[in-house]
């Protein structure tokens, strides 16, 4: 393994032959839809008049709140809180951009013309925008059926937390706000749906650039009251990026299917950029309070965390997952035995939230790693030394966290040592001292984080109290599926169930299978189109939470091993040898002790296809194998509310060097040093690409991007205000290095790696800015950080100083 190759996905993409959904025309006679959206953050729908729109030339159907309410059930939610969620507003609009009606016409122009004729009579209601607004005792209720705007509120205690805090030498407290930002993939949402009335009842065939989790297929089916298998979901090979955001597409699949039912024709909808920014998804904004119980030597013995997520207008599944995805690793890289957690999600008049690369980790670690820096400061310890004292030690693995996580492998001390050596940390600190003497702002920020991968979706169960979780109906799973087959020419096809979103799964899958079968890469052909009717899948399938490297490649190895056995038997038959004495190598089946005696792999495969009668008795002519990698470590939450929320736990140690211009107060990320431990490296080039991408994404969240809402609830809706970093902003010097402590739980020792720096760099930058501005007495408790923010902080700090004097 670990060789460098070009991605097999790239030639088609680079020559304009990619097959994205908008390039495909799966159904003849497809019409086009436009969606009417609420201009109000919070408004009661008093009346709906679709008649003018329906009469517009070229319009086939207009579907509004009444049809949606009458013909669909609310999507099943992860909790029992009565906050019904449909694909359009039904009684009230709860965020700007919420769909209220869909217009189906001959083309998009006609659909948009008719969309302007849809009349909705709104009664504007006071908006609830921020977390504090939602929690206020007199807050307007978003959902009249619920008692408050709190969608879920759970408290967990592990260990004797109060006792640990009572005994602590000091308690360090931090309150932080993490902003709401997104991913803005190049390709927005896209859906084509056909409603099919079949002899045995209705069915839906839908194409979408969805990528999982496939638990959402069950949610989708729930809205129609159909068995999941009556919804055939097809996903093209190419997806123009998601980073989690496209997990939020399923409500549109429901809406388009309903529109098709009314139009009597298949219907296509391609989301435009304004729709995407207004109404798709984002990572949730979070307010959090952390308390650390610290002993005199800087050891953190106890932790209290109070987390409040702003999930927008609805608790759209898979929310409240943002609160729970990192449950098993909520104590991060540190040995903390006592922890209490309060996890709340509130609904507001913002767009619903969901997966966003790093999911739950960027929020958690922003608090935890800012807190660790504060602890270091209070203990008068270098932030690296403070972390070193608290790290889980190399000898502790497998390490059980108080919340149920089982860290599979790692060497955090070695990774930090490598980082500080690569960065020449002492020299950096000397540079900083000299810069401070010159009156300059230069800051060094660290973050050391546990990077969870191969998520166990059972964590969502924690949102429901243990006594209400029905016995025998638990949820768990980190399973991935593959199907491998060999054709009569010995060409191997590999069907993946991961649904890539551009990461290069096919390239790695080709290499893994080629290695396992002793074949040249060209003899293995991965297929990544998903068709839920034919591709093996289960509820936890999909491309999310860094599942490919640990899970899917394990399934590939399992299936390849079984296939190899059949090929060995066939080859041995041709060689007149014992199957135990042959091996697969260099495209052949050969005697292990006499490699010159061999037959080509394709001949062995040919025998199974053409002459199965020659195989030893009892050997089936089976040249297709499926595998469902099912790690037993991923279990449902325990009755004591513990969960191993991921199968694998990697590690990232990161250091950011930030300079703030004294005159203009602009924040500039100058250098990033990073060390990832993702277990065994499968493909160094793709891994490096993931690191680069995650860093750029994190840079956006730290310095540029923010889904801002005015007090009146009006959001950022264009790229004029939602600023994504471009190549011109990602010019920082980067030093990326790796440590490999293989996971004992995956077949190749690999862990996920695509999200790590999304969790670590935002807080590393915040720590660096705090470090740079420490002489000015400025506290950093939120993002994004840019000139205007730094200016405000410095002016406020100067005022405070003046007042004190």
């Amino acid at each position: 393994m670990t060789r460098t190759t070009a991605r097999i996905e790239d030639p088609a993409l680079l020559t304009g032959r990619g097959r994205f959904l908008d390039d495909l025309d799966p159904f003849a006679g497809t019409l086009t839809a436009a969606i009417v959206r609420s201009p109000h953050p919070h408004a009661r729908i008093r009346g709906v008049d679709l008649s003018r729109a329906r009469r517009h030339p070229g319009v086939a159907a207009v579907v509004g709140p009444e049809e949606v309410a009458a013909e669909l059930k609310p999507f099943p939610l992860a909790v029992k809180t009565p906050m019904p969620y449909y694909p359009t507003a039904v009684d009230k609009a709860r965020f700007v951009g919420e769909p209220v009606a869909i217009v189906v016409a001959a083309d998009r122009y006609a659909a948009e013309d008719a969309a302007e004729l849809v009349h909705i009579d709104y009664e504007p209601l006071p908006p609830v925008v921020e977390i504090d607004d939602a929690l206020a005792p007199d807050a307007p209720l978003l959902h009249d059926t619920a008692e408050s705007n709190v969608a879920t509120d759970r408290t967990f205690t592990f260990g004797d937390v109060d006792e640990v805090f009572a005994r602590a030498d000091r308690v360090v407290v931090g309150e932080y706000d993490f902003p709401r930002y997104s991913s803005t993939p190049m390709e927005c949402y896209s859906v084509v749906a056909e409603w099919q009335d079949e002899a045995d009842g209705p069915a839906i065939e839908a194409w979408a650039n969805f990528h999982g989790p496939f638990s959402m297929v069950a949610v989708l089916a729930g809205a129609f009251g159909l068995p999941a298998s009556r919804i055939r979901l097809r996903i093209p090979a190419d997806n123009g990026g998601s980073f989690g955001i496209k997990a939020g597409i399923y409500p549109y699949v429901a809406l388009l299917a309903l529109a098709s039912k009314h139009a009597g024709r298949p219907v296509r909808w391609t989301e435009d950029r304004v729709e995407h920014l207004l109404g798709s998804s984002a990572g949730s904004d979070r307010r959090m309070r952390f308390e650390a119980a610290v002993s005199a030597d800087g050891r953190v013995r106890g932790l209290r965390a109070d987390l409040i997520d702003n999930v927008g207008g609805y608790l759209r599944p898979p929310e409240p997952s943002t609160l729970y995805r990192c449950f098993g690793n909520i104590t991060g890289a540190y040995r903390i035995d006592a922890v209490s957690i309060r996890s709340r999600a509130v609904v507001t008049n913002k767009t619903p939230t969901g997966l966003n690369r790093g999911f739950g980790g960027q929020q958690l670690y922003f608090g935890l790693e800012r807190l660790m820096d504060e602890v270091a400061l209070r203990c008068d310890l270098d932030p690296g030394e403070l972390r070193r004292r608290n790290f889980v030690r190399g000898t502790d693995f497998p390490y059980a966290t108080p919340t149920g996580g089982i860290y599979d492998s790692g060497d955090y001390h070695a990774a930090l040592d490598l980082l500080l050596k690569n960065a020449d940390y002492q020299a950096l600190r000397q540079d900083q001292a000299r810069a401070r003497e010159r009156g300059e702002y230069l800051g060094i920020g660290l973050a050391t984080i546990v990077d969870p991968s191969a998520t166990n979706i059972g964590y969502v169960g924690l949102a429901t109290p243990a006594e209400q979780r029905a016995k025998g109906r638990g949820k768990s799973g980190s399973t991935e599926h593959v199907r491998i087959s060999v054709d009569p020419n010995g060409l191997v096809s590999v069907l993946l169930g991961t649904v890539p979103q551009g990461q290069g799964h096919a390239t790695v899958a080709q290499q893994v299978v080629a290695d396992a079968l002793g074949l040249p890469r060209e003899q293995v052909r991965p297929v990544v189109e998903m068709d839920t009717a034919t591709t093996p899948w289960t509820i936890s399938s999909g491309s999310y939470s860094s599942r490919f490297a640990p899970l899917l490649t394990s399934a590939l190895v399992e299936a390849s091993e079984r296939l190899a056995e059949t090929i060995r038997i066939a080859g041995a038959t041709l060689l007149g040898a014992d199957a135990a004495a042959v091996e697969l190598a260099e495209g052949s089946v050969r005697l292990r002790d006499e490699p010159a005696r061999s037959v080509p792999f394709r001949h062995a495969a040919g025998v199974v296809h053409w002459d199965p009668g020659s195989l030893p008795p009892g050997v089936p002519a089976r040249l297709y194998e499926e595998a469902a990698f099912t790690p037993p470590e991923s279990k449902a939450p325990s009755r004591t509310d513990q969960i191993n929320s991921s199968l694998c736990y990697g590690f990232v140690a990161e250091l950011a060097v930030v300079r703030i211009d004294v005159e203009t107060r602009e924040v500039r990320l100058e250098q990033v040093f990073t060390v990832h431990d993702a277990g065994t490296i499968l493909d160094p080039v793709l891994l490096e690409g993931q690191v680069h991408g995650a860093l750029a994404h994190a840079l956006g969240g730290a310095l540029y991007e923010e889904m801002r809402y005015s007090e009146a609830g009006q959001p950022t809706a264009t790229f004029m205000d939602y600023l994504c970093p471009t190549s011109a902003e990602t010019t920082y010097a980067l030093d990326s290095d790796h440590l490999e402590t293989p996971s004992p739980l995956t077949k190749l020792g690999a862990k996920g790696c695509g999200e790590g720096s999304c969790m670590s760099l935002p807080v590393a930058i915040a720590n660096a800015v705090a470090d740079a501005l420490r002489p000015e007495g400025v506290e950093i408790t939120s993002l994004p950080l840019h000139g205007n923010v730094v200016h405000q902080l410095l002016e406020r700090s100067a005022l405070t100083t003046e007042r004190k004097n």
Partner: protein, 296 residues
């Protein structure tokens, strides 16, 4: 994001374009590069009855020189100007153009289009004001000259009437004793400026003349003569620092925009003050035939 229905005309002669606009009775809109107009059309924020495409009018596509001026026609792309000798003959244009959007946008966007659009944070309106450029506005009744400093009437508002076409803009070529400075600060490269400055100094006479134009700081470019402040600062050892304090009142006065999510008014004042003194010092140094970087 599909435009509302509109009629489309692509005349070959200016007179036809003007007639189209007159016929539309205020419902017409001129398009050339379309870099600002097309997104606005797609979002249905603008709904013209007729779009008059002037790209087919050959006479509007020229860069010409006469009598110490360079004249840039209405359909000349920003990128074409950037690559033409005119970007050296009018150095401030050459300095400003790389800040206008991105190269891809400049290859479609026009100089005159940027002026007619009149975004208060755009670069080219500030260049035109700083250099006291003259704009040729042609209507049904013929052509008239409008000074750049009179052309901009507010955010996205100009002296153009509904039947007018901005047919060209005339910039003075640089002469002896001229020095220029240009800089801006934006959240990202290519964004509209949070604050920006264009500066022209002439040091030929006994007392230097200096013109400072700010953009992104008000509802239109703001221009002040700051020769006196420059003259006072010349004796000090650190020209930039001396200018910083001497320009403080002017800066305070020039920046009158309300803040937004990217920068408060107070922060814009700070940025503008830094840029104004920095670029004025550089421009003065350039009048002495030295590269401004020697000054530092």
């Amino acid at each position: 994001m599909k435009a509302a229905p509109f009629a489309y005309a692509r005349p070959a002669r200016l007179a036809e374009a003007l007639a189209e606009l007159a016929r539309s009775d205020g419902g017409g809109k001129v398009i050339s590069g379309g870099q600002s107009l097309v997104p606005v059309l797609a979002m249905r924020l603008a709904r013209p009855d007729v779009l008059v495409d002037i790209n087919g009018i050959a006479e509007l596509g020229r860069i010409e020189r006469s009598g110490g001026f360079a004249e840039i026609g209405a359909t000349v792309r920003q990128r074409a100007v950037e690559r033409d000798p005119v970007s050296r003959e009018v150095p401030l244009l050459g300095m400003a153009l790389p800040w206008v959007g991105h190269r891809e946008l400049r290859s479609r966007g026009t100089v005159c289009g940027s002026l007619a659009h009149a975004d208060p944070a755009a670069e080219l309106p500030a260049v035109a004001c700083c250099l006291d450029a003259s704009l040729t506005v042609t209507g049904q009744d013929g052509a008239r000259q409008v000074a750049a400093r009179d052309f901009f009437a507010g955010a996205m508002m100009t002296a153009l009437g509904p039947g007018d076409v901005l047919t060209s803009v005339r910039f003075p070529l640089a002469g002896p004793g001229d020095g220029y400075g240009f800089a801006e600060i934006a959240r990202r490269h290519g964004d509209f400026a949070l604050a920006g400055v264009a500066v022209h100094v002439n040091a030929e006479g006994r007392e230097p003349s200096a013109v400072l134009t700010g953009f992104g700081i008000s509802d239109r470019p703001v221009t002040r003569s700051v020769g006196a402040e420059l003259a006072e600062a010349l004796d000090s050892g650190d020209l930039e620092a001396a200018l910083r304090s001497r320009l403080a009142d002017v800066v305070e006065d020039m920046v009158d925009t309300e803040g937004d999510v990217h920068a408060s008014r107070d922060y814009r004042r700070r940025l503008f003050g830094v840029l104004a003194s920095r670029e004025l010092a550089k421009a003065y140094t350039r009048t002495r035939g030295r590269d401004a970087d020697d000054h530092e």
